[in-house]
Symmetry: D2
Subunit: 376 residues, 4 copies
């Protein structure tokens, strides 16, 4: 057990349940001297908040972050930063009914076996997507840390929902428009078609798969600790920790299977005095190290397992097959709400590796140190 | 950085500050199926609560534990258990005054250097003994886990305060009387002399050193993972994490320096069909492994650094020597309040090693599993 | 730094370089009592040995495993198992020439930046595929451990090379035929077409991408430690540690993006008294936990970066573009030699998680314990 | 299990057995750019080599270090550094005889229980002091790293053997004379008395306890990661990993129990413009952080358990008490050979913490980088 922490320098520990008191996170190792308050975290948390549109679940959660420790006089202190959002709109009734008839596609039954029946089944418990509120709180800190120290920018967006896929989107559009609509696709025309597809699926009591693409700019050369903490290793580990992720690829990814070496290598050139690959088929990572080009990773989300359509399952009491109808409030597609989650998770890993490589120091001494009342 | 977690299977992460919102802890890896509620934790927390007697600080804290996650229907679920006590009686004024004149014996100046001035200096921040409230919350869980699964009993008591030392105390007295008085010494006559010594020191504006002895019974043979996670290695690591600990010894400890091999070896015998060392000069650990005899460890606490007497220090602003008088509310001796802390810390390590050795499984399947409403 | 270990209970540490003295591995935490000798490891190592066919590099290495520690009287002892293969057929000349002209697609330049020029560039050093000889040594131990304790079987094969893809292959064919030809595809007719494609690419001085599919049978329900050590998280981390991997997907993986929830959920049924998903679109992992169905993971390998065709690069000395021709002995496609590597890496992770879940104990007490000469 | 690694940045993994093929170590995370060869390690290894005098065991081992990886062109590369000494003078006969009659004071029986009888009992296997040859190899690298980057000096010496104790020894004498005699006590007159005590004990078939004191100079302020990786926590953990250590104390240690706060605090002063404690009763560590004063730690070694005198034990086959006489070649006292081991272990921890604090970077870029043939 004990798999609820990630990172070696910027260590994130997740806790909390979907229908428990709260969802929370502890960051251990965040550099001292980072200006930080709830105001840095809330906006990103708001981006994944449920109940905001018809393409997301109707559960209404305020999701107001509370920092419990590790910040003093407006700066991080180097001590562990604990943060929570308190659960409010909890309705566990619909789940109790499902105890004997595990929902297809969910961890219900497997968790029951693993934890000897003691797991918290309300709302999916630890297996709920709600856990990612903790990822976002940690990610918001990582994002600010990366931005202030290295100018790193992490941007994800919905590339595809079901059969609707966005073409190439200019970087500027991604930067400015990815959160401009509820499906989180910066191409508004494609977004509209995605929205329609979601509405149709919803109406049919069904759900849709989705693809999120994430880009990280200004990542310095050489992040990653091969062999087992190569940058892609650690990014993929973190991304597969997000519920419902079933595939991760970097750069051309699976598309490289059909290419030749002469087509897939990224030759080095000198660009404005900086050495860098002129193409980026590798997605910014070669040999497990960042190349200086943008990190480019694509993440496949399966369709949400909770659908209104009747489904076949087993009644564990009678050991007979039965139909189950999953009521409750659920997302008809995961990509849109996952966008800030993917950004957060990528940022957590980059922050950890920037610290491991020494490019982000354990104390940001250049900060306004007098702010803490200390003359040094 | 990132040193706020300990353990590999029963992983404890500490957070919170002396004068922040709370002191807390997350346990990751606690077996599912342990019956647990606040009522299991509060009594042990109460034993270290401040403000209970003249031998402790007058800070009044209710120290009421709140479990935030990881428990459902009265049992642990296998998910991380987050717990907090909320700080209430906080008075940081006396500390602000001390910013330029670091208190002798405290981490003030060294923390200021390490964290670039960003550390939380109120009440010692992360360096306060108050952090050990978190150790006790985690320890209470470990103690219950060890007791229910293995019948392990962990008992500490104050062996010495200043020049007053208790002789051999029978095990039964330790078990039943160690918490019967405010100095936590099971020999009431010695306890009375200790109390007087503390009162005298207190009146003189001074403080006293102390020695805590801890015994763990029924520890199975073979706990410990040599070489670097030998049982004594990990116990000592945890014990030196308790503020003000300056020495740790097992069995005869430093006394073994003056002995011969023929005097210090513990011969094996058969006792009631069980093979065990007939003497226990090794303190229950040989070769880094538990021997089946009681673990016996002694912990030296320095006198509290905060004393009312004027002391010499440096004014960091003027760089001139100055006198400093540490006001505020402080313990005149640490041993008495450290007794439940030492028990907790020892229990945390034993629980971790019992899980690493496989003698405590990741799920307590023998528990009342139906309690969670699941028919399996 | 310090990224050369993976696992929490079955901990694998990799060391060695392509053209150094050896490639090696230490396993810490392997259960005591596993019958083990070089004869268990050599056959699997032989399967990845170079120089065996025209579809692999012509470097000739005997790759004879030597166990340095942790095995006694034919059984593992519970102590760390160190193993090495000694490098013999080393020819570093062709690499020296390339120092100023980093090979496109390789880590050369990025490693140079990261390690301040101190990295071992001979044969790719730590970035060489040769490092995977260590993975295979560790994997061979994991495979035996899994087989003897749980009956787990791990089988990978080449699913696709370039444009040539195998259709559905029956499990029995995978089991018995995957190593029957040099491209490691159990469908001999497809294998022949793959071989031709490789030969053509080779003749053209080029290389091909490839796809390896891996199946693990008899994995017990409930392996995986969500959220950050979910089974897919840790498998993907390990797989991306294999050089040249650019994508990992479980079950239908990226194919799930285009499906609906009603199409992608795996309903539970009772099969021979065992509860299991009737379909396996999830690839044997749901909610980060194994479902009892076969683990199914697909791994995309980019075309080898070393190709004979002239390529564009930068001369770091002159900072002018140049042509580079990578001579030396290289694989024209990676999948075939990667098959035992993928099996090994998957086995390492499964062994680790089986130990974490307690389904493999730290000591295999049922073994022939008298073999060590001890009467117990 | 899996307790054979220590450190987070400078990670040391130990392997090998007393009578196996070798004793070895892997360092993962050592900065790139450290000039290193066997010649840096051999001299320190020679200082713990057995067979050098009558106060040590007569086992003759050449103990020649071989670096297997991680060094290239005379510099560390940032890759794992594997090192071994090959065992040569192995004589396991005397141990076989002892299988049924566990030696008092040794781990024999407890290891047998723990590892289900599979442990390697020859010469104590993993529980032998010979394992510390690995500690010394790693320590030699740490010592060089600390010296070159920070000017840190680590010096241990034998403070006491049995009843013979050295008084205060001037720092210069410790520096220059601690290895000048076979008992490793810089005061030659005391050393002579120690030697006599050892000879007497040896003649009597007995052994003696000993005390080693270790001093580390020039340790920067602020090393240590409270709460659970405080500097004293991690030093004590590492020191208790050395076989036969039973007590560890910092500064006045257990002596602080009898002192008052007014006597034990170390006031800060300004010394040559540097702020530092004027006294060092804390042993250079306060609040878990280094204070800038010398680290001072004392380590109690029990008398070696292997003595020639007949001892009582249990015959595990007959379950009857028996006399056992431990033949073989053993140290009559441990302190003298432990001196370089204590220095090594302290250096390993300091190197790790210097890297964690960022005062030693992951690459020593100031080194002669062209040495690797790379023009950058």
């Amino acid at each position: 057990m004990a798999g609820n922490s990630i990172g070696e320098r910027f260590v994130v520990t997740s806790f909390g349940e979907s229908h428990g008191k709260c969802v929370g996170v502890v960051i251990d190792g965040c550099p001292a001297g980072l200006p930080l308050s709830e105001a840095d975290i809330q906006p990103i948390l708001d981006l994944r908040r449920p109940g905001q549109s018809l393409v997301t679940t109707q559960r209404k959660e305020e999701d107001r972050v509370e920092i419990l420790s590790g910040v003093f006089n407006g700066f991080t202190t180097g001590a562990p930063i604990a943060m929570v959002v308190w659960n409010k709109d909890v309705d566990s009734k619909s789940y109790e009914r499902l105890l004997d008839t595990p929902r297809p596609g969910h961890a219900d039954y497997f968790a029951r076996v693993k934890y000897g029946g003691f797991y918290d089944w309300r709302g999916g418990g630890r297996f709920s997507g709600r856990i990612t509120a903790g990822f976002v709180m940690a990610g918001a800190v990582a994002l600010k840390l990366l931005r202030l120290t290295l100018g790193v920018e992490v941007m994800a967006y919905v590339k595809r929902i079901g059969q609707v896929e966005a073409g190439e989107v200019p970087l500027d559009a991604i930067r400015s428009l990815r959160y401009s609509n509820d499906v989180r696709c910066p191409d508004e025309r494609v977004a509209e078609r995605m929205r329609q597809a979601v509405m149709e699926a919803r109406k049919a009591g069904d759900s849709l798969g989705s693809l999120v693409e994430c880009i990280a700019l200004n990542v310095p050369v050489g992040l990653g600790e091969p062999v087992f903490s190569s940058l892609d290793s650690d990014l993929s580990r973190a991304l597969f920790s997000v519920p419902a992720v079933k595939g991760v690829e970097f750069g051309l990814g699976f598309g490289l299977v059909g290419l030749k070496g002469s087509e897939s290598n990224d030759p080095l050139v000198s660009m404005n005095g900086r050495v860098a690959p002129i193409t980026n088929k590798a997605g910014g990572i070669t040999g497990g190290l960042s190349t200086g080009r943008e990190i480019l990773v694509r993440v496949a989300f399966k369709p949400p397992s909770s659908i209104a359509l009747p489904q076949r399952t087993l009644n564990l009491r009678t050991m007979k097959e039965e139909e189950v109808v999953v009521t409750g409030r659920h997302d008809p597609v995961l990509g849109p709400r996952a966008v800030p989650v993917v950004e957060s998770v990528v940022a957590m890993v980059l922050a950890d590796h920037a610290m491991r490589s020494g490019v982000i120091p354990p104390v940001l001494r250049t900060g306004k140190e007098v702010a803490s009342g200390v003359s040094q």
